[in-house]
Symmetry: C2
Subunit: 404 residues, 2 copies
């Protein structure tokens, strides 16, 4: 398996496009994206656990119920959530898309992201549909990635190539960050496509399993969005024998999927609102998988630690503090903490107490753009990784320099 260029059009048989149709006032930003498979796909999805759900989720859930889909329509600039006519508008988006593509509206995945509680008009979508469909192309993945961005500063695409029974398969995805992101089932919008052949049940199983250690392990700001979803479309054009049960092929597919999702997680976390750094908390030696996850998430969610990381301050007391209030049953006196980056690794806490270390070396390590926070619980065999970002500026103006 290897990483390749591209995103949702890396896999065979998929085209995509993105345009500015007028939902956003800023005409230089795309606000409508389309992903299309030349043949019907197996489809799977996971959704936000927020009780307040965007209307597009309800519609998508109904459309994907049969395990099939062929296109994704997604707008940015308006979440179509908490609107009285939300379902009607989301169904309208599906109908306009299906009509233009000559497919069944029930085979369209609908997504929206942006402001909650403002009416979304179908007018600009209707007016832009012709252009959107005419621009569908194998090179259109980037335009689609641009069209789903909100406060993201970079488009997010990842793709990989792998083999199933001697057939070359591809899988790729795009994601939208970068606020209202917190580990609690699926987070944010992610669309993944693959040309591998896989049954709906196994596709859903792959996705539902994967997100537990990927998208559910990100936090930007502790706010779980109303419109989150991750969907995967698999069109089978790679020609592999359809995956219908666990086994070697399913394992290979899971690995490829995980490569794409971890890549997107890192991009989402590193581009969190206001972020200057990607934080990766690696917990080892936990008694249970849940303890490992709870500890990793708690560390990555700590505003104070995030602020310290912005200030490149090796304030490991905040790591211990976040572990202590996580609710996980840990033995504080066994915990070791190290910071690591491209500049090296430094141990700052051993057996729950501080050790002498070079502040200069720690600063050098923490000034990098990607920081690993290594937490060894020394209490068992289970590991976990969580991703987040630093908290920048004025909250930090106080906290980033708190220790010195």
């Amino acid at each position: 398996m290897k990483l390749i260029n591209g995103g949702v059009t890396a896999a065979q048989g998929f085209t995509a496009s993105g345009i500015h149709c007028g939902i956003r006032r800023n005409t230089s930003k795309n606000d409508l994206s389309l992903i299309f498979s030349s043949v019907p796909c197996t489809a799977a999805a996971v959704y936000t656990t927020n009780l307040v759900k965007g209307a597009p989720l309800t519609v998508t859930k109904a459309h994907i119920a049969d395990g099939k889909a062929q296109a994704v329509i997604c707008n940015s600039g308006n979440a179509n959530t908490c609107n009285a006519d939300g379902i009607e508008i989301a169904e309208g988006m599906a109908a306009l898309t299906a009509d233009a593509l000559g497919i069944d509206p029930a085979d369209v995945v609908v997504a929206s992201t942006g402001v909650i509680g403002q009416p979304l008009s179908l007018e600009p979508i209707k007016n832009g549909m012709g252009e959107l469909v005419s621009k569908l192309s194998e090179d259109g993945g980037l335009e689609a990635a641009l069209g789903i961005m909100t406060t993201d500063t970079i488009p997010k695409e990842v793709a990989a190539e792998f083999e199933l029974g001697g057939k070359t398969c591809r899988i790729g995805g795009i994601a939208k960050g970068s606020g209202m992101i917190h580990p609690n089932m699926a987070t944010m919008l992610v669309f993944i496509t693959t040309d591998a052949a896989i049954s709906p049940d196994m596709l859903q199983k792959a996705l539902s399993g994967d997100i537990q250690s990927t998208f559910n392990m990100i936090s930007i700001d502790g706010d779980t969005s109303t419109n989150d979803m991750v969907t995967v479309l698999a069109n089978g054009t790679a020609g592999n024998a359809e995956i219908t049960c666990e086994g070697e092929d399913f394992t290979a597919f899971m690995k490829a999927l995980n490569t794409v999702t971890v890549g997107l997680c890192r991009m989402i976390a590193g581009d969190g609102e206001g972020a200057t750094k990607l934080l990766e908390c690696r917990v080892t030696g936990a008694q249970t998988p849940d303890i490992a996850k709870t500890v990793a998430k708690s560390v990555i969610c700590s505003s104070l630690l995030k602020a310290a990381m912005f200030g490149a301050d090796a304030n490991w007391g905040r790591v211990l503090c976040a572990i202590g209030y996580s609710g996980a049953a840990v033995d504080v006196n066994k915990i070791d903490v190290s910071f690591k980056s491209a500049k090296g690794e430094i141990l700052v806490c051993k057996d729950g107490a501080g050790v002498e270390f070079s502040e200069e070396k720690a600063k050098e390590i923490l000034l990098e753009k990607e920081i690993e926070i290594l937490v060894a619980l020394n209490d068992g065999d289970h590991d976990s990784v969580a991703w987040g970002c630093d908290l920048t500026y004025d909250y930090v103006k106080i906290n980033g320099d708190y220790r010195t």
Copy 2:
């Protein structure tokens, strides 16, 4: 009952002082505070639930186990937490204090606040003890309030006068904010003194009951400190018949205590790190008290809502979003949301959906320093209030203007 000036020396028989002894490098900041009662007191306390606990908490817990105390010694600039010799140092602080005051070390409450994991030397405390004791005064409450500050921008004192059986009693307190503050049992450092006579059991009952709706309902940044505690000393010099059971006197005492604690809560939240506004979320019509609290806390903890409040942006979708992911069982379609301040009140969401409102009027209301977020669940009879603050600047540079 009425509010009066002062803090921990408002009640009869209490003196206090605060000095710079050298724990902090900045010589213009007090870093050591003392509170003393001329006669032994009934004492009660509540502590952080963080598994990582400061050594002073362990020592204080042991000292208060008999329901008695006579003095409080507290330093800022160093939390004396995650230090191998922490207990020894905390006991040393108690011994130095007891020695200088001529009381039993086991009657000294010890507290520390500041950086975690740096050794605390007894040297500056030993050297400063003479001056600290010599400065004990009935006017020393403010100096003591200054000595426990960390990133607080204002000292926090509240006091009240009330009657018990015809006797005038007083109660007052001081608090330290302003980061690592999140509702989870007692939060931050609060020292309360009263001249009312009350048994240890009833004092503990009063305090443990009160914090459920006061200190546990604040959040600045979601981080529960390792060193939080709230203590109350009652010296009985007011001459009232000792409160030993529930009844009229206990109710009057609870009311006075609540006046002081709510006052301190509002000061702590309004002076949160980087804050420009006090946020008060008032939830009404919940099916259960727990639902009311969960909803109020979730709203007050939302980084996105806090950022919107800094930007005076009536982005009520973020209120609904935070209610939706709170975990509380609510009927989204019954929820009304209003914003209120000294400039008026405005309804922004009715039955879970947006209503038309004047953005101009909303902006005028939200530009005030104290904002009430009114959430009517319309689903029962239970209410709750939570306090927080806005999230300022760069996270906000993105989110404060997100909607427009």
